[in-house]
């Protein structure tokens, strides 16, 4: 029987534990966007979005759309967000000045492939030969810390954490950590270190679904979401 994996929400929840009070955070499209729903109590982060906005509120709920949906108040995924006192707007060059200038503390990005050196490939659509670089490359090169959010394997159960990336890179040596539906892996100079496993999973089982050779942390533990 297939072992149970973490939900997309649980991946987001584990990543949100990495947020610290006062952090400037940029969330990519997909699982990363979900992180904003799980910021631990007592911690306030400032969200940055590529289209020129800092300090905005969460994504507008479906029931609030009639009142709050506004095409002039959207995040990088085109989703409506709530306004928040103290938020501000700026042009695209300033927005990427914030990114390249090293003022984004944490960038949470989707992942297609990551290799053992922490190179990230996430912009070319698998099997299509084309892709969108968008703002991800600037973030991957220039944000202070990159956290990957992804299922551990592809839809046809191939490893996403590989020895060599088979698709064009977004940025070399950029990954700090990756949170998947079965593991938390930290990228170090020695290689990828398996720090945490999903409940019920062993290090050997995670390694089986990982092409890159994992270093097992001495203090390996189960993923805790709260």
């Amino acid at each position: 029987m297939e072992k149970e994996r973490l939900s997309r929400e649980a991946i987001a929840m584990r990543i949100a534990k990495e947020f610290f009070d006062g952090a400037v955070v940029n969330l990519g499209i997909g699982i990363p966007t979900l992180c904003s729903s799980f910021v631990p109590e007592g911690i306030e982060v400032t969200y940055h979005t590529e289209n020129g906005m800092l300090g905005f509120g969460p994504v507008v709920t479906d029931e609030d759309k009639a009142k709050w949906a506004d095409i002039d108040l959207t995040n990088a995924g085109g989703q409506y967000v709530y306004p928040k006192p103290g938020m501000c707007f700026f042009n695209h060059a300033d927005s990427f000045g914030i990114i390249r200038g090293g003022r984004v503390d944490i960038s949470v990005l989707g992942v297609l492939e990551v290799n053992e050196k922490g190179d990230l490939a996430n912009w070319m659509f698998p099997g299509r030969g084309v892709g969108n670089i968008g703002g991800g490359m600037d973030l991957a090169f220039c944000a202070k810390r990159i956290i990957g959010a992804t299922e551990h394997t592809t839809k046809d159960n191939k490893p996403k954490i590989v020895k060599q990336c088979s698709i064009p890179l977004t940025a070399p040596h950029c990954m700090d950590m990756i949170v998947t539906d079965i593991a938390v892996i930290k990228f170090t100079a020695k290689g990828p270190v398996l720090k945490e496993v999903a409940p019920g999973w062993t290090a050997a089982e995670v390694q089986e679904l990982t092409e890159a050779k994992l270093i097992i942390a001495e203090d390996l533990k189960e993923i805790e979401l709260l």
Partner: protein, 249 residues
């Protein structure tokens, strides 16, 4: 005579756009900040062999479906597009631009978004080229000069200018000073700076002095023509209960 840059129709405002022009189009992931009426007018005007510079290549609204600059591709007016996000996220629903790019009819220059923004800003600011830390060791570096600053690899990118910029703003005065509403701003101000002929479509046109000079985002000098939107669109906006920008004017 007082300066008055207001045109009474979108058609007149784009009448002299020439074949082969480089055109900036304000655009991001949703409809906010896209100059829909100028784009439509440019389709009717029919200028061909255009090079479009925009964040997307149109037709990939992530949350809504709408006609943006994809209509210029549908009308076969584009020979090249410079963009960061040109492809539909769904393989099943390819954009018009995507079909033409893959068929070799339209040339694509794929640029990281921050590099695109800075190239436009640099072009407008009279900077010929610059070195950015984004891209070394990726396909983006191909054919570009690499230099190290403080031990970190950078690649050279060129400033980008346009013949025409189609931009969207919230309010203009008759002299062409512009203010924006929320995330509508995005690429619009830097595109306004970087084109010889900048045309703005706006919700409201006011008299000089009615925009607080402290709050002007695009100085009038960058704007040649202003057209007020009179037709209503059905995109959700709440101009009456505005968020934090109400005090701006």
């Amino acid at each position: 005579m007082a300066i008055n840059k207001v045109y009474d129709s979108f058609k007149k405002a784009v009448a002299d756009v020439k074949d082969g022009s480089v055109v900036f189009i304000g655009n991001f992931a949703g409809p906010g900040g896209t100059p829909f009426f100028l784009i439509r007018a440019l389709r009717e005007q029919g200028a061909k062999n255009l090079t479009l510079v925009a964040n997307t290549a149109g037709g990939i609204g992530l949350t809504l479906d709408y006609d943006d600059h994809r209509i210029l591709f549908q009308n076969h007016q584009v020979k090249k597009v410079i963009a960061s996000f040109p492809f539909s996220t769904s393989a099943k629903r390819p954009s018009e631009a995507e079909k033409q790019i893959l068929a070799g009819e339209v040339e694509l220059e794929l640029v990281p978004q921050g590099t695109l923004a800075e190239r436009i800003r640099a072009g407008g600011a009279g900077i010929a080229a610059f070195f950015t830390p984004t891209g070394p060791g990726t396909v983006i570096e191909e054919g570009k000069e690499r230099r190290y600053f403080n031990g970190r690899a950078h690649i050279m990118e060129y400033g980008l200018r346009a013949d025409v910029a189609l931009v969207r703003a919230w309010k203009a005065d008759t002299m062409g000073n512009l203010v924006f509403r929320g995330t509508q701003r995005q690429f619009n101000p830097i595109m306004a700076m970087g084109a010889d002929l900048t045309i703005a479509e706006v919700d409201e046109v006011v008299k000089p002095g009615e925009i607080n000079p402290n709050c002007v985002v695009v100085p009038s000098i960058f704007v040649k023509r202003v057209v007020k939107i009179t037709e209503k669109t059905d995109f959700p906006r709440h101009l009456e209960t505005d968020f934090q920008v109400k005090e701006e004017v």
